[in-house]
Amino acid sequence: MIVRKGDFYFSLVLDFICVFVFTTSFSFPIEAAIFPQLSSALLFVLSSFLMFASFKGKSEGTNTANKKGFKYTSAILLIVGFVVYTLLVNLLGYILTTLALVYYTIFVIGYRKQKWLIITSIVSVALTYAIFGLLLGVPLPVSFITRLIQG
């Protein structure tokens, strides 16, 4: 039997979410429970229909690897970079972490000319800091060292 794996797994995840939303809603006051219960029940029916339909369909682009090799490496490395950035931004401050993020993003995509990589990272972060931090007064995160110094 041919299964559209993407549809199947997505509908499975949705069904779990629906069951969680529906059952959790019983602990809410009735006024707060109606809408989540209605929408999750409807979504459960629809996603179950998709799951059923996925068993009858033709196999389609759900393979994450092609014959030439894994083609989503850049995207996965970028996502890891975004997560690490978010974890570190409040610790190391905006300027340092964002500088590293811009450099990392361009590098991961495949650009290797160090001079332009460094210039772009520094200039773009400096400009953004000037616009957001200085001009618009957004309190961008500072490093823990700065916080210690400032008391």
Binding site: P36, N90, T98
Partner: protein
């Protein structure tokens, strides 16, 4: 009403406001011309920047970007056969052929004049229809608003064509996600897992930055890695004469009128989108010019989609400004921009903030006029310099704007998490042929739906008949059913025809 329109135009005479509109148009032209960047991405990352701005300046800046980005997309479509924005896909068909024939200047000129014509027509529709609709909307009660929200969502679903089920699933998923946060009626926290930041629900702007900005960077990383965009063949011949002569204008006039009518109607319907408008306009132009072979470099083939996509721009703001229901995902971004400024779109906008409502309308009109000369002047520059911008470096700058923009909404790194989560989900779903964009409208309309559903049920003492006894509500529900059933009916007919064949 004329006094209010004059008030809108009067504010544009203020130098700072006018410069903001001018800058918005220039930025829109540039981002539209850059494949991979579009109005949605730019507006999503710029909305947090507008936080510190005066509301008038913020709005006209975004209007300028929205007006011009759509036209900007036609420049690489005509010169390089690469649509700058999705709405320029059809322009490639005849536009690039004209370039190959040495008529790139004429093609760009036709694109400019067509865009200005379509844009001005839709600005007039916005100017006169939105305030009228807003007055009518004041008669709406909870059942009507609930049915209106149903109609808004059903149009998005109905336009999905073959992917009806997937679109419906994503829309309902949006409604489920909209229940995160305080319940609108009793203020009970739901699915917040003890996180204070979720009390107000999923923040709209970081989510949109994730959906548009992060996803585009991840997608672009795939594209560049697979070497699909790095080899840009620049065989642009001398641009030459750009503006079409009187004979050409006379020839294109019927196409402009038909296409702008199509664009305006499609734009007003929430969720219908530009893509539908450009294909319909192109198809209509083909039917009206049976003696011409479209796809071989026919001026009407450029004029039709370019008129239609710009006609969608301002008219997509009609339901947003009059009813609080966005016409498409880009106009939905204006909700975020207005909310950051402490305003809410819908009939109350005309009542409480007429100076902003009518300024937006006037800015659409003047922005389209500015787009003409600016577009012509910048076409040559863009065709040579900007299209050669290094796409690797550009990706780094986009992600920088994304994280900074998401953080700036509430000065919280939690919003960067929201941005990443929605960006990654959208990227993964794209890979399995799901589009996450239908989630936007239900997420915005969810709380409105829930509140009006509960108020209606309180009014009717628990009877669901209230949605069918009000003529407006019943009418809206019938239209919703038609939108949902039309693609099903079409699919059944097609299957029947193929069986017979």
């Amino acid at each position: 009403m004329l006094e209010n329109i004059a008030l809108g135009f009067g504010q544009l005479l203020h130098p700072t406001v006018f410069i903001a509109l001018f800058l918005g148009v220039v930025v829109g032209l540039i981002v539209g011309a850059l494949p991979g960047l579009n109005d949605s991405i730019t507006m999503a990352v710029l909305i947090p920047v507008t936080f510190g701005m005066d509301s008038q300046i913020a709005m006209v800046l975004l209007v300028g970007i929205y007006v011009a980005a759509c036209y900007g997309g036609s420049i690489p479509a005509i010169l390089l056969n690469i649509p700058g924005t999705a709405s320029s896909v059809v322009t490639c068909l005849d536009g690039y052929k004209m370039t190959q024939k040495g008529q790139s200047g004429l093609a760009l000129g036709i694109s400019t004049t067509s865009s200005v014509f379509g844009g001005l027509m839709s600005s007039l529709v916005l100017m006169f229809l939105a305030p009228f609709l807003a007055i009518q909307a004041l008669r709406f009660g909870p059942p009507e608003y609930f049915s209106l929200a149903i109609m808004g969502i059903s149009t998005v679903v109905g336009m999905a064509g073959k992917d009806l089920l997937k679109s419906l699933i994503i829309s309902i998923f949006g409604l489920v996600i909209s229940t995160i946060g305080m319940s609108p009626q009793v203020g009970f926290p739901r699915f917040t897992f003890g996180i204070d930041y979720l009390y107000d629900g999923i923040p709209l702007v970081p989510m949109l930055i994730g959906l548009f900005g992060v996803t585009s960077v991840l997608e672009l990383a795939d594209t560049i890695k697979n070497d699909l965009l790095s080899k840009v063949d620049l065989h642009i011949k001398k641009i030459g004469r750009m503006l079409p002569d009187r004979k050409m204008v006379k020839r294109l006039l019927p196409t402009w009128i038909t296409s702008s009518a199509i664009g305006n109607v499609i734009g007003i319907i929430p969720g219908a989108g530009m893509i539908m408008a450009i294909y319909m306009a192109y198809d209509q132009a083909k039917r009206s010019n049976k003696d011409k072979e479209f796809g071989t470099g026919i001026p009407e083939g450029v004029a039709a989609p370019e008129t239609a996509n710009n006609a969608v721009v301002a008219s997509s703001m009609v339901p947003l400004m009059a009813l609080g229901v966005p016409g498409n995902s880009t106009s939905a971004l204006f909700i975020g921009a207005l909310m950051i400024q402490g305003m809410r779109p819908g009939p109350s906008l005309f009542k409480d903030f007429p100076e902003v409502a009518y300024l937006i309308i006037a800015a659409f009109f003047v922005g389209n006029i500015l787009m003409g000369p600016l577009g012509l002047a910048l076409s040559k520059f863009m065709s040579t310099s900007i299209l050669r911008l290094n796409r690797y470096l550009l990706n780094g700058v986009i992600i920088l704007l994304c994280v900074t923009g998401a953080y700036s909404v509430r000065n919280s790194s939690f919003d960067i998490w929201i941005m990443i989560i929605f960006g990654v989900i959208s990227y993964i779903l794209n890979k399995i042929h799901f589009s996450l964009s239908p989630i936007i409208l239900p997420l915005i309309l969810g709380p409105m739906m829930e509140q009006n559903l509960q108020q209606s049920l309180i009014l009717s003492r628990g009877s669901w008949a209230i949605f069918f006894t009000s003529p407006i509500s019943l009418g809206l529900l019938i239209v919703s059913a038609l939108f949902l059933l039309a693609p099903v009916w079409k699919a059944i007919n097609e299957r029947r025809r193929s069986k017979i064949a």
